[in-house]
Homo-oligomer: 447 residues x 2
Amino acid sequence: MPTANPILLPELRLMLAEHDTAGLREVAEELHPATVAEFSEGLDNAEIWRLLDAVPVDRQAEIFPYYPLPRQVDLFMVADRPHLGALLEWMAPDSRDDLLRDLDPEFVEEILPLVAKAERHDIRMLLSCPEGSAGSMMTTEYASLPAEITAGEAIARLRFQAPNSESIYYIYVLDAERRLLGFVSLRDLILARPTSLVAELMQKDVIAVRVEEPRERVVEQLARFDFIAIPVIDDRGRLVGIVTHDDVLDAVRQEATDDAQRIAAIAPLGEGYLEAALVSMTWKRGIWLTILFATAAVTAMVLARWKSPHEWLIAFIPLVIASGGNSGNQAATLVITALSTGDCTLGDWKRILRREFVVCLMLGLLLAIPGFLLGLAYAPNPLHALVIPATILSVVMVGSLVGCVLPLIFRSLGLDPALMSNPFVSAIVDVVGIVIYIGIALALLGS
Amino acid sequence: MPTANPILLPELRLMLAEHDTAGLREVAEELHPATVAEFSEGLDNAEIWRLLDAVPVDRQAEIFPYYPLPRQVDLFMVADRPHLGALLEWMAPDSRDDLLRDLDPEFVEEILPLVAKAERHDIRMLLSCPEGSAGSMMTTEYASLPAEITAGEAIARLRFQAPNSESIYYIYVLDAERRLLGFVSLRDLILARPTSLVAELMQKDVIAVRVEEPRERVVEQLARFDFIAIPVIDDRGRLVGIVTHDDVLDAVRQEATDDAQRIAAIAPLGEGYLEAALVSMTWKRGIWLTILFATAAVTAMVLARWKSPHEWLIAFIPLVIASGGNSGNQAATLVITALSTGDCTLGDWKRILRREFVVCLMLGLLLAIPGFLLGLAYAPNPLHALVIPATILSVVMVGSLVGCVLPLIFRSLGLDPALMSNPFVSAIVDVVGIVIYIGIALALLGS
């Protein structure tokens, strides 16, 4: 079956032990670069370099980006400098940029002089793009053509450009000042008569993103138009790079994990759960737990002031605040995911509030019924038992209001709505829920 | 600027009112199909059909899949049947499959006889693949070649195949029985000498997925190897279709939203927040809120049996159970995201438990300190105050244990670990937390 590869770590170890350079070369040369990286990840750093050194540096540069980033950093720290200069020259600009951003800036300044001048210029340009922008995701290797040549000439020129292009399937048509005029797919060029002009074949209605636009915009545009790559332009409409589909897919997967972690009140780990250092993981969870603890302390202080003669009410404290917290979580998550997928925008706030009002009125009534029955089991009479359903209805409605308003406020302040984590919504709803509970008990039963 | 398009809904409405067929044709013909769909979404169904009818059916079939799926269903219900048959014949097989899965099966049986026989066979094959499998994501339009022809001949043949292929950038090399021998990229074909044989150019180490493998596997393989498309084979190694990068990206984005909703205890909406019917949304949230209510009722019943002479302890109930719930949420989310990204597997359960033990011991101690200080403010003496930090430490540790074990159990039962939602973890930890609190209070202070 062609789905899996039979080469395994022990065989690599054996080849290394026997100094079987021919065998190592075959492995590193013949398999997909991702497979080479995957199978050799279990080796130590020196062994990985011995494996890579069995093949020329251009092939090394193809394999290298498939190691996890922290491992790439480790490998860089132990290699000899001149070799790193050559490797950087051959690496795809976007993979190189990802790695250099993770290295110590002083170390980067030490090795950059070893890189050829043209590449160095490219490196500095990409490094200057802010983290999370279209510029930080792009590669500067793309295929481009002038408009006034024929399809036949275009294909001949692409044969010359192609080895340096991450993608030759979309070819960007530029004027003399590198302004983006249109694009033509390789498919269109192949299907066209060889004498047709590129200017006639190209699509002029080009979708592009600006270099400073956020990652979310790149994802949204590429996903909407089903592109293999999307061009990135500067403020004068000049092409500065492209973002390819594979980097968008990686970004979406990373973003989904980061968002899920933020929603659960964890500062995003940014690396695998099993790889993250324990101290760093403790910090990324502890900081939020401490903030949540402070909010819970407010609940305790409010509750400590409450001396009710109706002791049976105490047993219902966790239940009423959990009802509010749960409906708040649901509302917050729905609004956060709708904002992040572009399903709704800030401008929809009125519709969001209206929908939540109707849905949570129904949900509150739904939970109020078993709440009343449970109350009857403990309250001295039905009037007293009414405190429970009245509180549940109010708390569910207030919880969802808090849950949908907080992410909207965060977004309107330009912050990530996912920072408005579920536990934080719960913590706020806890305080409010207790106040509502005490208020309704006082109103219905007197002090 | 080429990033946005100036055509707007009012202009479309004007063209429709004035029966300006030439104008409508220009809009539907010249813009990207995604843009046509986006700008015309605000029209009613009859108006959209009038816009589409301005262009030939092959162009209609390009635009149609860019409407949201529920809208496609609506449009189908009001159109005349013979036209639908023609439209289905021209639609890309994967988009067509998505639509047909959402239509009423009886309606599908009524319109299928209107589709040409070859296409009908294709439709039935794709519809027979289980939801969420590689087969349900694939398209049957791909480029294929035999191994024994030259690169020059290959390009000539592709010119013939291309108009029917969603992607001609990867070409699959098949034997006489359509078994997958290898693949060659269009880039390789263009760069090769025209006389080289495809058999020499092709990569034999093909990565493929089987038609019954789950969506997650398709995503993982395509993302790992940075492919534009991944081939899908049957159990005899024959090529049955390909899954293209754009469908994987859509699947990942949908999956991330579904997972986030499951984690917040919402049955995935499967459609936009603003589009979902209120009754269906109430049901998808209410079912979980009711389950959570039942769990919270257990907490209330446990608490109702507790008659403590130490009244100040009551104020701390929400705080101690929230501490456990929050650390449980963090652990559950980390394990769920690590399982869903393939960062860790069931086999890592020992390492996961070890890591959670260490991290949560530190987190528990971290929160115990302010817990003790807060306790001192309300307890009659320091010994009594010790109940709070002792409970917090225990509850944080038990919470994270529950949080990481539950998703692992769900995965081992073959269920989606994201069903183990944060509120559900919190609800279980609430009950356990109350029992621990009462237990520690009894042990330290006596009844």
